[in-house]
Amino acid sequence: MLILEFLVILFLFSIFAGIFGSMLGLGGGVVVIPVLTLLFGVDIHFAIGASIVAIIGTSSGAASTYIKDKVTNLRVGMFLELASASGAIVGAAIAAYVNSVALELIFGVILLFTLIPTLMKIGEDIPKSPELNGLSKRLGLHGSYTETDGRVIDYNATRPVAGLTGTAAAGVVSGFLGVGGGAFKVLSMDLAMKLPLKVSTTTSNFMIGVTAAASAGIYFARGDVNPLIVAPVALGILLGAAIGARLLLKTRNPTIRKAFSVVLALTALEMILSAMGVQV
């Protein structure tokens, strides 16, 4: 394959990854990694290095629009970053000593189980907002944003400690495997903290850049960030994220949840298969 062809095809796939990654609060690694390994025969290490860059691009590329539209909850994001950043360090630190197959299998199965409560909320538009009390009140974990149809949605967060725990798991997964962190972040806010889905996906999008940056050092130092591969990925992802950010506000919550459920199932499957030795 010519370098030029490679650049163009990978750029187009990355636009797609950027669009749906930015809308679902994920990094787009679930698209970028299999495209690189299966389609182009790129080594998994380079694929993960490219995925880290893709995550940062999805995050920074869409976040400015989400922040301007006030969907992202900055306080919730910054509070949960405490857990995701700590988790990422733990994940990177234990990578040398823990059996990666076992950990991948455990997290894959956990993700698969979170499909049940996620599917039970299918069709839900805006969850009933819980009472604001305790730690959530002290930390100001509440907000409001304007929905597609002009309704102003006021919401409160609940169970911040459960949210922190889930986000710590997200950090461990990202630091350890380089992927999968976004799904755990969205689930922590959606299932544990009862935030509206768009707030959960955009706040996850806001946070994943920090988690990925935390582990970028190791991939850069090891030489896993291959310029030839990351250039079209970064450019495609940034363009896709800009498009996705504009699409999200026009999309209804139930549609986002359906798409999220499909990707959740695929991510879980990818992790379980990879643990069983099938590299995708």
């Binding site: 025969g41 290490h45 935390a214 050092g217 030489g223 310029p227």
Partner: protein
């Protein structure tokens, strides 16, 4: 703009992220154009081979002096690496800005929270490359 106004947080952070992304994209585009014009019609054969024994594992240069010499010569790979570094720096700049903005708002809890996040982030970026990797 009054930095003590909580509204300024979203304006400053949003603008910071936008500038970081645009700057990074411009540099990566420049590098990609150089790459495409210099070797766009050569084959990708062997370029994705991963050699576990060498650092970097690929066929590209990684040394600090090589990077700066490459930048001076507008080497495509060095330009792309610089653009990617700018992209990686955007979340770091964002967390740093939020510490300062919460300090301007005199929001003590969030100054502490964001300062701890910044510390964890910098520690992780700078320290994790030195953790031995056995399965890499």
């Amino acid at each position: 703009m009054n930095l003590r106004d909580p509204e300024s947080m979203s304006v400053v952070i949003g603008t910071l992220l936008r500038y970081g992304v645009v700057l990074s994209a411009i540099i990566v585009i420049a590098g990609t154009i150089r790459l495409a014009t210099a070797s766009g019609l050569s084959d990708t054969n062997g370029l994705f081979a991963y050699s576990a024994d060498t650092i970097p594992h690929g066929t590209f240069s990684l040394s600090v002096s090589g990077f700066f010499n490459g930048l001076a010569a507008l080497d495509p790979y060095s330009l792309i690496e610089l653009g990617v570094m700018v992209l990686i720096a955007t979340p770091v700049a964002r967390v740093t800005a939020s510490v300062l903005l919460f300090a301007a708002e005199r929001d003590r809890i969030y100054v502490v929270i964001t300062a701890v996040v910044l510390g964890l982030l910098l520690f992780s970026m700078l320290a994790t490359p030195f953790i031995p990797v056995f399965h890499g």
